[in-house]
């Protein structure tokens, strides 16, 4: 007994460890994005995200104040100030790009015309000259410093404050909900017919649906938009629902059918014997039992529609009043891309709703499974 208990404890450990390992591998890339979304553009390009939480060493320069800032002290003209943030410490500094770390904090550099510059460890500098400063722009002061970690929520403020995001959210919802519900409804009936009704050509239709799974979306865009234009549907919500329904159906039917064939035969047979109509069987037995599969597919279809940009721009258009969220986020990035910080923040904003859906659906997944006596496969 003890032996078994020991094995069991070890097994629990192993299972927990395996799960932990999987979770770490699967989340680390996303974690990188999350951390990056709280850093500014230059930080992202400068150091790896995993270093964001540690003090970093940085070599850069700042500018002394302009000539307008000078004050007269005795017979010296002085420009003084501090461009550092609290906690940032200078380890070396210099006055030209050729020798940016020639001097230690506190040392004094002699510049042209009797000017002198000194930089203290806390970054405060003092530039003195026997004559009045004339150059409008402050000189460059190069430094190497260590600084405490810094995070910002600016990226999120920028994304959430984007023009038209609220409108786009509504548009996305208007697109997503029917485009999720309608295919499921249609697919559930079709899947039932393909799983539990006997009629000629059934296997052929199943195979056909598998074949249609692989139709590349890009292929269908031109013929379908042409069709929508011809029947006067044009670019509209109705059009995009139909398009998403069409594109989502093969997977929906395929998944639901394979799930439904796994439902216990006896339950359905006995209901048929009792004289229940097919519609009744479907509604009272099949639907409740298939809930987990319906919920899983709902999640997938929801995610796919939510994250879609291609179908939305083609079938709905991208005028400001037609934009979906992915469209607005894409617009934020500008035409040339490269704003990784905005991308990072927007990825997390757009992921929020799908995750909420997943969490709330997951509850049903579990419940549906526990309630039904479902046979796998």
């Amino acid at each position: 007994m003890e032996n078994i208990a020991g094995t069991k404890a070890r097994l629990t450990w192993a299972v927990n460890l395996a799960a932990l390992l999987l979770v770490i591998i699967w989340t680390v890339p996303t974690l990188g994005l999350l951390v990056s979304s709280f850093r500014d553009k230059d930080q992202i390009a400068a150091t790896g995200w995993w270093r964001a939480a540690f003090p970093s060493t940085q070599s850069d320069f700042f500018r002394a104040g302009p000539a307008a800032d000078q004050k007269q002290e005795g017979d010296l003209w002085v420009i003084a100030g501090n461009a550092f943030e609290p906690g940032q410490m200078v380890s070396a500094w210099g006055t030209t790009s050729k020798a940016p770390d020639a001097l230690k904090p506190g040392e004094v550099a002699d510049l042209k015309d009797g000017q002198q510059l000194t930089v203290a460890a806390d970054g405060s500098y003092r530039l003195t000259s026997p004559t009045q400063f004339e150059d409008g722009r402050g000189m460059r002061i190069f430094f190497t410093s260590t600084q405490p970690p810094k995070f910002t929520t600016d990226n999120y403020v920028k994304v959430i404050g984007a023009e038209g995001l609220g409108r786009a959210f509504l548009n996305t919802m208007t697109v997503t909900i029917p485009a999720t519900v309608i295919p499921i409804l249609i697919a559930a009936f079709a899947a039932y017919a393909l799983a539990w009704m006997d009629f000629p050509g059934r296997a052929l239709i199943v195979a056909g649906i598998v074949g249609l799974l692989v139709v590349p979306l890009q292929l269908a865009l031109i013929p379908l938009l042409k069709f929508h234009n011809d029947i006067g549907l044009g670019k509209s919500y109705l059009g995009i629902w139909l398009a998403h329904t069409g594109f989502g159906l093969p997977l929906a039917i395929y998944l639901l059918r394979s799930y439904m064939t796994g439902l216990p035969r006896e339950v359905i047979e006995s209901a048929r014997v009792d004289g229940a109509t097919e519609f009744h069987i479907f509604r009272k037995i099949i639907l409740p039992l298939s809930f987990p599969a319906l919920a899983s597919f709902a999640i997938f279809q929801f995610l796919w529609v939510w994250n879609d940009l291609l179908v939305a721009t083609v079938f709905l258009g991208n005028r400001p009043d037609q934009l979906v969220m992915t469209g607005v986020l894409r617009e934020l990035l500008g035409s040339k891309g490269g704003d990784w910080e905005i991308l990072a923040a927007s990825a997390f904003i757009s992921i929020a709703v799908p995750l909420i859906v997943f969490f709330s659906m997951q509850k049903y997944l579990v419940r549906g499974l526990l309630a039904g006596s479902v046979k796998g496969g």
Partner: protein
């Protein structure tokens, strides 16, 4: 200090007030005498009230707002309603929309290749008569510009299909003036001097160039700009035109020389920041940042006029960073060739209001409104260049206006499989170690399979 912030407050309040008053129009008509307001007034003779023009382009974000600020003048003067939408997948969308029969009235093509293709398939409408002559007369290097809007239509005859508006200058070398000062370098006036400077920087222990070809799926394109620029500096514009249409084969010695000349810059270990290996791997958006580091990773960066958007935040163009013209060889006598690009406006429907809009683009005011803001240069000779929003833009505009030869980005003119495929890949292979001959042969081989 107190007084300053107070006056700032007043200025802000004034700005806010004017913002409410002139929300539609950035610059109040008639006020600033540098603008050609007369061309705005003549616009008012047209009444297009209630007419709608849909425009599809690839401008997004700030560019979109800038274009809309120009369109607002057309709307205000004529009463027409312009609906602009931008898309990152512009190419795909315009193909789908025109094939499916729901095209926008006007499309803004980022390069002529796609416009030519749509013209050939019969989706573009010829522009009004006289447009071509207008471009020839009023644009600097007008013949070149006009040629980029002339395509063969479905009927087999050439027509003027696209109107060039908004140019990009590519022959620019960006640098940090203060770094040049610190090291005592002078701005090179000839290619010979540029090469000498490159060698001098290496001898001084620095790294002269930052070159990054990375661009995700489009990796390699920055190198095509280099090769095109050098092609124009080694060979005649006629050779360049022949090359773009493949009358001059890709593996011609003239072209191999240009590729090798790029290799002189990019394939010499000491010439590039991070060494040759990092050329293809560095993202073109990250590449210019090397100019601004401490100590500088490099002194020069050859890139088009748009690149300042990828400089570190707060960089003041003209002070923190500046550019000089990518010079020509003194001993070649090919003048001052300029490589550039431009966006092309094409009509896809018979909406008469579109003609009025294209005609509006011929008026100085349509250029000046954008010039006075940011990111716009024009080859239009009839504008007042004092309007340019900053000195740098004006300097770029001058390069365009003084160009003895202007040539469009060749990779944009080649068939997509080359200009947006084999040429890119070839340049990546070239920096990866392949010889110019091999790369050129490989690209020519791909070109040979086209149209068979």
């Amino acid at each position: 200090m107190m007084i300053r912030s107070l006056s700032l407050g007043v200025a802000l309040a004034a700005l806010a007030a004017s913002g409410v008053m002139a929300q539609e129009l950035k610059f109040e008509p008639g006020k600033d005498s540098r603008f050609h307001w007369d061309s705005y007034e003549t616009l008012k003779s047209q009444n297009l009230k209630g007419q709608k023009i849909t425009i599809l382009g690839s401008w997004l974000g700030p560019d979109k707002a800038l274009f809309e600020s120009v369109a607002a003048y057309f709307e205000a003067a004529t009463g027409a309603d312009i609906v602009y939408s931008g898309s990152t997948s512009f190419e795909q969308q315009i193909v789908i929309d025109s094939e499916a029969g729901s095209p926008p009235d006007i499309a803004v093509f980022p390069q002529p290749g796609l416009a030519a293709d749509l013209a050939k398939k019969g989706y573009l409408r010829p522009l009004a008569d006289g447009t071509e002559q207008w471009i020839k007369d009023n644009y600097a290097a007008g013949d070149s510009w006009a040629a980029y809007g002339r395509y063969v239509g479905k009927d087999g005859a050439e027509h003027m299909y696209a109107f060039p508006y908004k140019a990009d200058v590519k022959s620019l070398v960006w640098y940090v003036p203060e770094n040049f000062e610190d090291a005592g370098y002078e701005i090179p006036q000839t290619m010979e001097e540029l090469k000498a400077l490159t060698e001098k920087i290496v001898a001084d222990g620095g790294t002269p160039w930052c070159i990054g070809l990375g661009s995700g799926g489009a990796t390699g394109w920055p190198a095509t700009d280099w090769v095109e620029d050098l092609m124009l500096r080694l060979n005649t514009p006629q050779d360049y035109d022949a090359w773009v249409t493949n009358k001059l084969k890709f593996d011609d010695p003239k072209l191999i020389a240009a590729i090798d000349d790029f290799g002189w810059f990019a394939k010499t270990e000491a010439n590039v920041a991070g060494g040759v290996a990092s050329v293809a791997a560095t993202d073109f958006r990250d590449s210019p940042k090397g100019l601004f580091t401490s100590p500088p990773q490099c002194y020069m960066h050859r890139q088009a006029s748009f690149i300042p958007s990828f400089f570190p935040e707060g960089t003041v163009i003209g002070q923190d960073a500046d550019f000089f013209y990518f010079p020509a060889y003194a001993d070649k006598d090919l003048g001052k060739p300029v490589l550039g690009a431009g966006t092309m406006f094409g009509k896809l429907t018979d909406n008469p209001a579109s003609d009025a809009f294209i005609a509006f683009l011929e008026s100085p005011i349509a250029h000046e409104i954008w010039m006075a803001q940011t990111g716009f240069v024009t080859p239009y000779k009839g504008v007042n260049t004092d309007v340019y929003g900053d000195a740098t833009l004006k300097k770029m505009g001058d390069i365009l206006l003084n160009a003895s030869t202007f040539r469009f980005d060749g990779s944009d003119l080649m068939p997509g499989a080359i200009g947006a495929g084999a040429f890119w890949t070839g340049m990546v292979d070239f920096t990866g170690g392949k010889s110019a001959e091999d790369v050129a042969k490989q690209i020519q081989a791909t070109w040979d399979t086209l149209g068979k």
